[in-house]
Symmetry: D2
Subunit: 156 residues, 4 copies
């Protein structure tokens, strides 16, 4: 669910097409069956459906897979506010794992906390949904860097 | 490369078989082509070969995939020192990304810093290898919890 | 400002006296002039007034001083939910610094995200207040451990 | 103890005087009795002697005080490699607390892992020394930013 309206004004109105285009270039997202489910200024949500191919040794979704979707959700939340000529890289993130990632669907959301010219700080939440019940499974705090002059899209 | 000899004495001499057995149960490791390449008391190394199926939008290995192998390397480093009747979960980890993860091979190593009855602290390093050159691509700090009375292996 | 009502029910109704008593035993809080300004189930706020004695090299409040009050705010937020016979220790925390800590007053707030028997996860925010304006200066994510059977208060 | 010789070549040979001058401007370091004990390219050590004025509720040195000295040690380790016209700010750090900070002396060491034009990554260790015995009490991972064109020293 998108957050309350936020005072984020995108530099580039085309962010709504730039994000799915970039997401489509992430082979890793396809490999784990991740889907881009929402994009708004300063916000992004990515989900996946648990399968044995994503499991750790107890059958839950691997913490690293949880990290993959919440790192991307935070990164694209930040990217929505970047100029068209910049791309995004994760500088670092920290993830607390609160409950086993299991259920019908795992949803990662990234929220921009502060967007700067060079650095952007985001926070992330991952929930597991099961039979209409939502459980917080992970909490993230992340630093992104804007690579100015390096557009995300490959040259034509 | 395993670290200098450390004063870690495994509680369970069978750690050397318990780790690969547990690793084999992690479907997520097979999905990304990760391989368990070394296990020693308080140490574990896991590698993979970069492919487009593991890439982020610029073609480098996705930060979350890097997180997957270094989280598992740290977790199994800790697990080598656990009693046979305990399993391991990641409480949290923090990952700094220092350089693009690209090359012939990406190797994640986990090192136990302190092993306690309940909590274990590890650090991790991820290197990219290319034409015999090794580049540090990520640095991790991690907290694990031992789940006593919950063996890693499913009941027969 | 305390958060929206939360479903946190303290195990020990005396938490409202245990927290200030414990805070009073923290010599470090007196050294930096920190004050306990609010305590509620799963919540704690601590503030201080910037002085040169708390400054880093540019005259802002030192990042470590910011860490001191938000680490304590998170710790006491968790402690409000602990049984009377347990004390609290920080396992780890991660702090992002978003803006210079300067102004009339610096306020750190800790919020419990998940309270477990052994581990408690909190998040923290630090705001600078100046002429009625509030700026987010730091964001924290923290893990606490409950030390059962080790009451916070020294034996009489 | 300084690390093994490292391939760090300072941009500004005057780093050895710039660091103590900057340290002397940190009022917060004086307030907690912290002393700059070693500076080398990519390395810095800061210590203090535990007193009740630095304690948390159990009498150990407060985790935030530990954070203060290791944050500064990491920051100055990075600063040794900066040009004379840049100052340093902490972007974020993550601290694991491994053992109570108590003893004759607490020593924080910062080590540069990677020094870039904009961002520098360090790691930190804090040891407690007691009767000649050294115990690791905390482990840090930190991101710094170089503020180019903003010298650390105030204009004369």
């Amino acid at each position: 669910m998108p957050p309350d309206p936020r005072p984020f004004v995108p530099d580039d109105p085309a962010f709504a097409t730039r994000v799915p285009e970039s997401f489509a270039r992430q082979g890793a997202m396809a490999t784990i069956g991740a889907r881009l489910v929402a994009v708004a200024p300063g916000y992004c949500a990515i989900d996946l459906v648990p399968t044995p191919a994503l499991a750790q040794q107890h059958g839950y979704v691997h913490a690293g897979v949880v990290a993959m979707i919440v790192d991307s959700a935070g990164g694209y939340a930040g990217f929505t506010l970047f100029p068209a000529t910049a791309s995004v890289l994760s500088v670092e993130f920290k993830l607390n794992l609160l409950a086993p990632a299991q259920g019908d669907r795992i949803v990662a959301e990234g929220f921009v906390v502060k967007s700067g010219r060079t650095l952007t700080i985001t926070r992330g939440e991952v929930h597991a949904e099961s039979a209409g019940r939502r459980t917080l499974v992970a909490l993230m705090q992340q630093t992104l860097i804007a690579m100015h002059g390096k557009p995300d899209a490959p040259a034509a």
